[in-house]
């Protein structure tokens, strides 16, 4: 018998990081993937075909120019020459489109004097094959010919617009077709420094916005009442600086930010005035709109790892490729923020990297530079991606019919591809096949498209069934009229209103319309109906569940398979019970006359309008389009306000309060509920911690024997 008693606690912290690095980066070398993943409309990870495969990896040895040394940027010119900034070798390497060596620029001529090209960084090559290269360490950007003749030097501008402490550390450069040059300076948050065609500094372009967080709002409030000295000591909230940018043929500038506070808006597409114009499609989970990169964040051993973009490139069709340093991945988006492909990774396989630094596209190919492995990798799109790009281009041009076979093909290739269903839905809608379009839009979770198709189909359905409906109504009217006439004039029986007995149901109905009178009356007569109250409460629970599961697709943002009645039971019945208890407890302290039983029953009566409004909305949601959402909201609001008024009426009558005191009592009740829930959460959390502590001790004892 063996024992495994001896063990060793490894110091936390350093090991944590090492551990993550080792296990996710290659102790277990992992195969180059043959499939990838994407996120569905619910932000769940789903399998997807691989969008790009590695066609070549090029290193310095292959090019017979010695090992590259920390290359920092790669740029593909319009004629598909590849420029690599081999930073620590102090040279720019120029390759042809076949990735064969064309030229090495390792020296420059400024004002007739030749010198070494030191630490080249960000690269841009214009249509005249003039190279723009940043030299961060030297605080300048050079414009030069391929032979190294420097034509212009962009140094730190002398301008009042710049801070006194501004340190000019140019890292990236681009040039627009109207000859404006944009330069990004490291950690500078006012956006890109802009120079006109004459090389004069003209200002800043497209700075990021400050993330509005709770901390910021609190600090803002404090600053309002602080002295100047205090303000100086407080944290300054400044926008987060861009780390890279790219420009397309239409002069749209694409920027990326390494980390944002809420992991949103890392990617922006700026127009001439610096406004972000990415037009996001609607998602099921509103919180993930604008969340680029991996939606899930890795939380491991108390540390989190999120996407950190370091470079961006966009092609002529508006396809955006962003490079994530954290996991060496490339995220590809269209200009509506649809995530099209994810590929690459960290590790030892051919499609992975050790430390990515730059990305650019060469037509459909994508080139990724690895500064740790000192090589670059050429990715070629798979057939799936080619089809997807073609379909998207046609879709953007409104050529839905032409795109239809491509979308169909994509669905055959990848049944999980939601964007393909949307595209197919558009094509089917254009063809007038509204039912099929609705089905496709539903699979693509495109509620706007679904609403359009639904509206068109509803019109057809109403038109086709109108004769039947009209005839039925006519027949019913004739029958009623006949009955009335026969009874009145032939049978001579008058319609006399009889005295009605006040049954519990009638009382409840009366309370709906005359709450103040009726609740007082009920309190006096004590004619509460407990079974009715139970039925109403249960109905609330049932319609809440029905609301989540049966509401029409256009208005329903719930994931049906995740619906859990226990949660809804807690959020209706249990919450109601808590309300009753807290209300009773509070009102006993502030002279309330109501008993718990009375609170329980009377308040359930108040729920009826709200319950009915939910019920009506469930029905209407299956008949309304997105454009008619106002009606849907209206019914909901009416139900809610009506119920609220009834609540006030019921509580006022039961406790014999004034109106103001009733409001005060309700506020206290809500605060009481919040406090109890807070205590419950605290208790559960403590229990969890206690359990965790117990299991840790137990496990450690077990391991250490």
């Amino acid at each position: 018998m063996k024992s495994f008693k001896k063990c060793d606690r490894v110091v936390k912290g350093i090991i944590v990081l090492l551990f993550i690095a080792l296990f996710s980066c290659g102790v277990f070398t992992v195969s180059a993937a043959d499939s990838s993943y994407n996120y569905d409309a619910w932000d769940e990870e789903i399998d997807a075909p691989l969008g790009y495969t590695v066609s070549k990896t090029v290193n310095g040895i292959d090019l017979n120019i010695g090992k590259l040394n920390k290359p920092s940027d790669i740029y593909v010119s319009d004629d598909y020459d590849v420029y690599i900034s081999d930073t620590e070798n102090n040279r720019i390497i120029i390759l042809n489109s076949e990735f064969k060596l064309k030229k090495i620029v390792d020296s420059i001529i400024i004002n007739g004097e030749e010198s070494e090209l030191k630490m080249p960084g960000g690269l841009f090559v214009d249509t005249n094959n003039e190279i723009y290269v940043t030299q961060k360490e030297m605080g300048r950007v050079l414009r030069m010919t391929g032979e190294g003749n420097v034509l212009d030097v962009y140094e730190k501008p002398a301008s009042n617009l710049l801070d006194e402490n501004f340190e000019y550390l140019p890292i990236k450069v681009i040039k627009s077709t109207n000859n404006s040059v944009y330069i990004l300076s490291e950690n500078y948050y006012y956006g890109a420094l802009t120079y006109n065609h004459s090389g004069e500094f003209v200002g800043f372009y497209g700075s990021n916005k400050v993330d509005v967080t709770v901390d910021l709002l609190i600090d803002y409030a404090w600053k309002k009442i602080s002295t100047k000295e205090q303000k100086d000591k407080m944290v300054r909230y400044v926008p987060i600086a861009y780390v890279s940018f790219d420009i397309d043929k239409d002069n749209f500038v694409y920027t990326c930010t390494q980390i944002t506070k809420d992991s949103h808006d890392e990617i922006r597409k700026l127009n001439a005035s610096g406004k972000d114009i990415i037009n996001f499609y609607t998602k099921n989970t509103a919180s993930s709109i604008g969340n680029f990169g991996d939606i899930k964040t890795l939380w491991l051993m108390g540390k989190s790892t999120d996407t950190q973009f370091v470079d961006i490139c966009a092609d002529d069709n508006g396809i955006i490729n962003c490079l994530d340093y954290s996991r060496g991945r490339i995220f590809q988006y269209d200009d509506e923020g649809h995530l099209l492909n994810i590929f690459g990774g960290i590790g030892d396989s051919k499609d992975s990297f050790f430390g990515v630094s730059a990305i650019d596209n060469m037509g459909e190919k994508i080139l990724v530079l690895d500064k740790e492995a000192n090589s670059f990798t050429v990715f070629t799109p798979t057939n799936y991606t080619n089809t997807l790009h073609k379909a998207l281009a046609l879709y953007k041009d409104g050529m839905y019919a032409e795109a239809k076979p491509l979308w169909e093909n994509l669905i055959l290739e990848n049944v999980n591809c939601e964007i393909a269903y949307t595209g197919l839905g558009r094509a089917l809608y254009a063809e007038g096949k509204y039912k099929d379009a609705m089905s496709a839009f539903k699979k693509g979770y495109d509620r706007t498209g679904y609403s359009l198709a639904f509206k068109a189909q509803r019109k057809i359905d109403i038109r086709s069934s109108f004769p039947i409906i009209a005839t039925t109504i006519m027949i019913l009217l004739v029958l009623v009229l006949t009955y009335v006439l026969v009874r009145r004039f032939i049978l001579k029986k008058p319609f006399i209103k009889r005295e009605q007995k006040l049954t519990p149901v009638r009382r409840i109905m009366r309370a709906m319309i005359h709450p103040f009178d009726e609740f007082y009356d009920l309190k006096d007569t004590k004619q509460w109906c407990f079974p009715a109250a139970l039925i109403i409460l249960f109905s609330w629970f049932v319609v809440t569940v029905a609301d989540k599961t049966l509401t029409g697709f256009i208005f329903n943002y719930n994931k049906p398979e995740d619906t859990n009645i226990l949660f809804y039971f807690a959020s209706t019945c249990l919450l109601y019970l808590l309300f009753v208890i807290i209300n009773w407890a509070i009102t006993t302290l502030i002279d309330g006359k109501g008993k718990m039983y009375e609170i329980f029953v009377s308040c359930t009566y108040a729920l009826i309008p709200y319950i009915i409004s939910i019920l009506v909305n469930i029905i209407l949601s299956n008949m309304f389009t997105a454009e008619e959402a106002a009606f849907y909201t209206f019914f909901q609001a009416v139900g809610f306000i009506w119920s609220f008024m009834l609540f006030l009426g019921a509580l006022r009558a039961i406790h014999d309060y004034t109106f103001t005191k009733t409001i005060f009592c309700m506020v206290l009740t809500v605060a009481g509920i919040a406090f109890v829930i807070f205590l419950l959460i605290l208790f559960v959390s403590l229990l969890q911690q206690f359990f965790l502590f117990g299991t840790s001790i137990f496990t450690e004892l077990l391991y250490r024997g």
Partner: protein
């Protein structure tokens, strides 16, 4: 004090070794500037490389394969094969390697590397035979009948490690008898050992390559300029599943054949791990990363090390290293180095050598190549989440039905497709419910037993086969006689071994998907007997598909009855033996499973694609050709389907599709969403088209065996035993079957 003295001595020795060549060497002319550094004007042609380092090699023995020369002080040796090529146990210029820093300089000259755990200082430490034994003249080299036995004494550490090297009819054999390995000090235990880590290492100026049977097989040219941080490392038969894995970024292609090779200009060596393979890990380094040499070797795990992280999701997380105590697990470690000589010897000859070894060891019968059929895997059902009136439920969702499969197969048959290998996976009720699968009941939504029998009958009539996929190792629910608490194999931490699904995006465990457990290896024989009993109801012709069971190895650390990985392997092999009264098929079988295989599915078309490797080679296919019928991985799930088809043709593999017969959308939102392109009717035309091509190729090569393969640029050529050649042009998609330059069949993919 003694340690300090030793350290100083080491530094002195290293310094003298580094200085020595500069003062006294005369070298052969060399094109390598590295060698030129030490060359003098008085060069003599007779000087051999050994003189650089003042090592004297004495001829110990010889046979028809070559001669063994040994340095009697260190045990370093070289084998001179019949071509005159010398295979050095360690690079002769290793001790003056400028690229090798620190310990690597000593490792370059060592025959044995090992790691031991010092319980006193609680540290895992590296050691090697050169620095801590040879340099202190503690190594004993004894001549034996066919070679020598080196005993490396590590006095300070209290270890004695024996290494026997002997000549045999194939070349040489290196053997460590673990029963003779001595650990004198209680507080020091050896955990892993690497044997001949630099044997045949390729220098920067040498031509040649290293081959490893990773996936289908892959090749790394010497001095290919690639970069790696941690080198290549892959466990033979896959990772030990008992080990704790905190994050996982994907799956490796398995190394299911314990073989690697080294090619030099006139000679090649095939290294086969003949004993202790289940404990072995192949390691490989390209030139100029840790040393100037490309090397490949096997590291054996003598005792297990595991890391467990407590409260991994919380700030209070901490990790604990667990070191196995007790006896050394493997009894013997044996690597057979088999040499072939000739100008163009390479991986083809390595495959032939390995194939001969397999035939001899496992007494496998050679069969004629059957390269004709199409393999179809039908996925039966999946558990999916549903909410019925707000009540969350997990229900069986059918992906295929037996009737649907029969209908599809009939449709194929009507179109002339015969000889199909049909496999039903995720088909049984137990598999779906996470129970040990020993009663062979189909999922009700998938079909009935009767329907399966009818399907089998129909397939038999079309010269096709039906295989039922079995899962006998993984489970998560108690039932069918097995309890998940008492019958689960235990990890080193004493907790049950849990097999998780991992997120592709963040590499973390996906705890929404139920974690699986592994059955105790000792239970496998009972399960197999029960399976056999339950199978009586099914036709004898029905095959059992044992999936990847041959590469699903794990240790069981249950305190009552421990089973190391080799014992588990033996248990699994016994299971195959028990079940072999029926026909069996495997997905990418390990070497020891081939004997029992009627056919092999899912043979990889690629390797793990590690960046240090230059290209993939169909080594596994070359070995399997003529031993067992084999198919590719499902090509409908490959990113480049056309290339996969061309690879299948070039590698002589049947085409495989993984299919469902129900609506394609039924996989969406389920655990089987990886079947995103699997709807049978959608793929019908493609299957029939490719079948035509494959049946034509098959009739052209007429059941012969693939004996060699080569690829230049985009053109691949596969030579068959009857002299026919299949040429595949990956650029144009052209496929030509020819015989002595006469075209027999030509088509375009």
């Amino acid at each position: 004090m003694k340690n300090l003295f030793k350290a100083l001595t080491c530094v002195f020795v290293i310094f003298s070794v580094l200085c020595a060549p500069c003062s006294s060497f005369s070298a052969e002319p060399s094109s390598d500037p590295f060698f030129d550094l030490f060359s003098t004007e008085n060069k003599t042609e007779d000087n051999t490389a050994s003189e650089y380092c003042n090592l004297e090699y004495v001829k110990f023995c010889e046979n028809s394969k070559g001669s063994l020369f040994v340095n009697e002080k260190s045990g370093r040796f070289y084998f001179e094969d019949v071509s005159g090529c010398r295979w050095y146990s360690n690079p002769d210029m290793g001790d003056i390697d400028e690229n090798a820093g620190g310990a690597y300089k000593m490792e370059l000259q060592s025959l044995i590397l090992f790691q031991y755990y010092d319980y006193e200082v609680k540290q895992l430490k590296k050691a090697n035979s050169e620095a801590l034994s040879v340099r202190f003249e503690d190594a004993e080299i004894k001549k034996t009948k066919n070679g020598f036995k080196a005993i490396y004494n590590f006095d300070d550490l209290g270890f004695k490690i024996p290494l026997e090297v002997s000549l045999d009819e194939y070349g040489i054999t290196a053997m460590v008898n673990c029963e003779d390995l001595v650990e004198q000090q209680e507080e020091k235990r050896i955990f892993n050992i690497s044997v001949l880590p630099y044997f045949g290492a390729g220098a920067s100026d040498e031509e040649g390559y290293i081959f490893i049977a990773d996936g289908c097989g892959c090749v790394m040219n010497f001095n290919n300029g690639t970069y790696t941080r941690l080198g290549y490392s892959s466990k033979i038969y896959g990772e030990d599943l008992s080990k704790y894995v905190i994050t996982k970024s994907g799956e490796n292609k398995a190394v299911n054949f314990p073989v690697f090779g080294i090619k030099k200009p006139l000679s090649a060596v095939t290294a086969i791990v003949t004993e202790g393979a289940a404990f072995g890990t192949f390691k490989c380094w390209p030139n100029n990363i840790v040393t100037s040499y490309s090397n490949v070797y096997t590291e054996f795990e003598l005792r297990s090390i595991d890391t467990v992280v407590l409260n991994e999701d919380h700030n209070s997380a901490s990790s604990i290293m667990l070191y196995e105590d007790g006896d050394i697990n493997p009894k013997k470690l044996n690597i057979s180095y088999r040499f072939v000589t000739g100008e163009n010897v390479g991986y083809n000859e390595m495959a032939a050598t390995y194939k001969e070894y397999l035939i001899q060891k496992y007494k496998i019968k050679k069969t004629a190549q059957n390269f004709s059929g199409i393999s179809l895997e039908f996925n039966g059902a999946v558990k999916s989440k549903k909410s019925i009136f707000g009540i969350p439920m997990t229900v069986d969702t059918k992906l295929s039905t037996v009737k649907g499969i029969e209908k599809f197969c009939k449709k194929l048959y009507k179109n002339g497709i015969e000889g199909m290998n049909v496999t039903l996976s995720s088909w049984s009720q137990e598999q779906l419910s996470g129970k040990i699968d020993n009663s062979l009941n189909p999922v009700s939504c998938f079909g009935k037993r009767k329907e399966i029998k009818e399907l089998a009958k129909f397939l038999k009539s079309t010269d096709s086969t039906l295989a039922l996929s079995l899962e006998m190792q993984l489970f998560h629910s108690s039932g069918k006689g097995y309890n998940k608490w008492s019958h689960s194999a235990k990890a080193q931490s004493n907790a049950p071994i849990y097999i998780y699904d991992y997120y592709k995006s963040i590499f973390k465990k996906n705890k929404d998907i139920v974690r699986l457990r592994l059955i105790k290896p000792t239970k496998l024989s009972v399960i197999s007997k029960n399976v056999l009993k339950s199978s009586d109801d099914y036709d004898d012709e029905i095959i059992f598909n044992l999936a990847e069971s041959s590469s699903k190895l794990y240790s069981d650390f249950d305190s009552k009855r421990t089973s190391n990985i080799e014992e588990t392997r033996l248990n699994i092999e016994n299971t195959f033996k028990t079940l072999s009264s029926r026909k069996l098929s495997f997905n990418f079988p390990a070497d020891y499973a081939i004997k029992y295989a009627n056919n092999a599915e899912d043979i990889p078309l690629t390797s793990s694609q590690n960046r240090i490797f230059d290209y993939d080679v169909p080594f596994v296919q070359l070995v399997l050709s003529g031993l067992v019928e084999y198919s590719s991985e499902p090509i409908n799930l490959r990113s480049d389907r056309r290339k996969a088809v061309l690879d299948s043709i070039a590698y002589g593999a049947n085409l495989k599709y993984s299919l469902i017969t129900e609506n394609a959308y039924s996989v969406v939102g389920t655990e089987k969403d990886s079947l995103y392109c699997a709807q049978a009717d959608n793929l019908y035309d493609e299957i029939t088209d490719y079948y035509d091509v494959f049946s034509n190729i098959s009739s052209a090569i007429k059941k012969s065996i693939m004996i060699s393969h080569s690829k230049e640029g985009n053109i691949s050529k596969s030579l068959y035993s009857d002299g026919k050649i299949i040429t595949v042009n990956y650029l144009t998609g052209e496929v030509i079957v020819s015989n002595e330059d006469k075209e027999i069949y030509k088509t375009q993919i």
